[in-house]
């Protein structure tokens, strides 16, 4: 093999020893010369010695230059350029044509003029150099792409494992994701709490792709951990905010809306920081409630400034609830118009609700009807226009089926039945102490003075 950065290697194939010697003398100042005395040897040395250019005598006994050139050229990859220069005794049309059709790249007439020889070699080696650069860059790019693909696959698998829990299908609850990229910053997390309550977080990280998706991991872990321990909504929000504030760069944050539905009491608790208004459509009237965004997104404020205040809504059976990321309302038509909140809300009415089929299927079927209507409507509105953002929708209809399913699926950790009170209480205590430990360590961390993240902590408070 050619040493890296060494002199270019020229393979000289000529049956005349005097000619080879003359060429060697002319070339060896700037090049390394390899000799072959016929076509067969030329083919063999082209393979073994890896020359950068071949000077080929056309007329040789046995295997001539034309045949050797054909073989050498055909064994080169399509992405390689090994120049072959024919040396012919005369410049008659027939010989030159044969040289061309045998893969020759240039000609020299014997006796070879040393200046012309050097000029042609230089030009052809330059072309070969360009080929090599291209090939190297293509290989680097391919290696990079393969690496990125591997990383993406791993990231995707990890994210899927973190985000997806074995949550049962719930009647009247539906989520729609329409993502621009494989990894994106939208997430919907769902957990069932003791008492048959349902807690949902719909989040939308600033930005797109992997950098946005990466923040989903700590959010999901805190969310599930907090729900498993049955911590109140405000505590969970404080924990997620504190965690994101600590780990995310300042320009990354999570616009999020957290809902907690208590179907037994018929109440919905909402905390909205940066998500378009949650629409709450009452069953028997055209009355609509809106849970507007009242807070900064999660991860923006320091823990001490974070406001976990929630709003409560009465949600009797039949109430429809819709949360949509801004990707939905900001979907653009080919003409550049935005989908907007009015169209979004109109879909909640959808096709007339009180059809016979709908009534017989119960209230829970209403969700799939209005979600399908909304998805169709968004799709039609966008038409041929390109998608600009991830769209995430969460829809829910309060109803007895949902209440029953939630009570059936609720986690048994904290609710301790009297029959196994002994073991249960011990388990409960353990749970509490683990929780207590986590909480107190979190509080200890919060009390630590906030290092340089907010160089000017005062600007922060005065702005509020």
């Amino acid at each position: 093999m050619k040493p890296l950065g060494g002199r270019p290697r020229i393979l000289v194939a000529d049956d005349d020893k005097i000619n080879r010697l003359a060429l060697r003398r002319a070339l060896s100042v700037h090049h390394e010369v390899i000799e072959a005395c016929d076509g067969f040897e030329a083919i063999a040395k082209a393979r073994v010695e890896a020359p950068d250019l071949v000077l080929m005598d056309a007329q040789m006994p046995g295997c001539d230059g034309y045949a050797a050139s054909l073989t050498i050229k055909s064994s080169c990859g399509a992405d390689q350029f090994l120049p072959v220069v024919f040396m012919t005794a005369g410049n008659d049309q027939e010989r030159l044509l044969r040289g061309l059709s045998s893969g020759g790249d240039d000609f020299l007439i014997k006796p070879v003029n040393p200046l012309l020889l050097e000029g042609k070699i230089r030009a052809l080696l330059k072309v070969r150099g360009i080929f090599e650069t291209l090939r190297r860059q293509r290989d680097e790019l391919e290696a990079f792409r393969n690496g990125a693909e591997r990383d993406f696959t791993v990231a995707e698998a990890v994210l899927t494992n973190v985000l997806a829990r074995d949550e049962p299908e719930l009647p009247g609850v539906s989520t729609v994701h329409d993502a621009l990229e494989r990894l994106n910053g939208d997430l919907v997390l769902r957990a069932i709490l003791p008492g048959g309550r349902l807690r949902v977080l719909l989040g939308d990280f600033a930005g797109h792709g992997l950098s946005a998706a990466i923040g989903a991991i700590p959010v999901a872990e805190t969310f599930y951990e907090s729900c498993e321990a049955n911590r109140p909504l405000d505590r969970m929000l404080g924990e997620i905010n504190a965690k994101l504030h600590r780990i995310l760069p300042r320009y990354l944050f999570l616009a999020a809306c957290v809902l907690e539905l208590d179907p037994t009491g018929g109440t919905l608790t909402v905390w909205n920081g940066g998500i378009p208004p949650v629409v709450i459509a009452h069953p028997e009237s055209s009355r609509r409630g809106h849970a507007e965004s009242e807070h900064l997104p999660l991860g923006v404020l320091r823990p001490a400034e974070f406001d976990p205040a929630v709003r409560r809504f009465e949600v009797p059976s039949g109430t429809r609830i819709l949360v949509a990321s801004d990707g939905a309302t900001e979907t653009r038509s080919p003409g550049g118009e935005m989908f907007g909140a009015a169209r979004l809300e109109a879909c909640l009415d959808g096709p007339p609700r009180a059809t016979a089929a709908d009534t017989s299927a119960g209230t829970s079927a209403g969700t799939s009807v209005f979600m399908a209507e909304l998805t169709r409507s968004l799709h039609d509105f966008r038409g041929s226009a390109p998608a600009c953002d991830d769209v995430t929708l969460f829809g829910l209809t309060v109803g007895p089926e949902l209440g029953t399913a939630l009570r059936a699926a609720q986690q048994p950790v904290v609710e301790v039945g009297p029959s196994r009170s002994g073991r249960g209480e011990a388990g409960c205590k353990e749970q509490r102490s683990a929780e207590y430990w986590r909480y107190s360590s979190e509080r200890r961390r919060r009390r630590r003075p906030c290092p340089a993240r907010f160089g000017d902590a005062e600007t922060f408070t005065t702005g509020c």
Partner: protein, 97 residues
């Protein structure tokens, strides 16, 4: 996208072009970095038709980079842009006019 920086006394105005999104992160940063003795930054969105959540991040970053007592004002936002700022409640941290 283009951001023009102009300075009048100790007030620096960043005039944003048609869009402010994640592609403009570096440019936005360069537009205010290295300015000395500033008491107020004005982000002029009069020309701006679209901002995304990354733009909100850039505004937060600008605000954080400011020394104590430096004001950041956002002006000229059209209704659509203002809606995005309002949903994120950015007016709780920055003056939005």
């Amino acid at each position: 996208m283009s951001i023009k920086t102009s300075r009048l006394g100790s007030t620096v105005t960043l005039s944003v072009g048609q869009r402010l999104d994640f592609n403009g992160h570096q440019e936005f940063r360069r537009a205010y970095e290295g300015q000395l003795g500033v008491t107020e930054y004005v982000v002029d969105l009069t020309e701006t038709e679209y901002i995304d959540s990354s733009a909100l991040g850039m505004l937060l970053l600008l605000r954080e980079s400011c020394a104590l007592g430096v004001k950041v004002r956002v002006v000229g936002a059209n209704p659509a842009v203002k809606r995005i700022l309002t949903i994120a409640n950015l007016h709780k941290l920055l003056a939005v006019a």
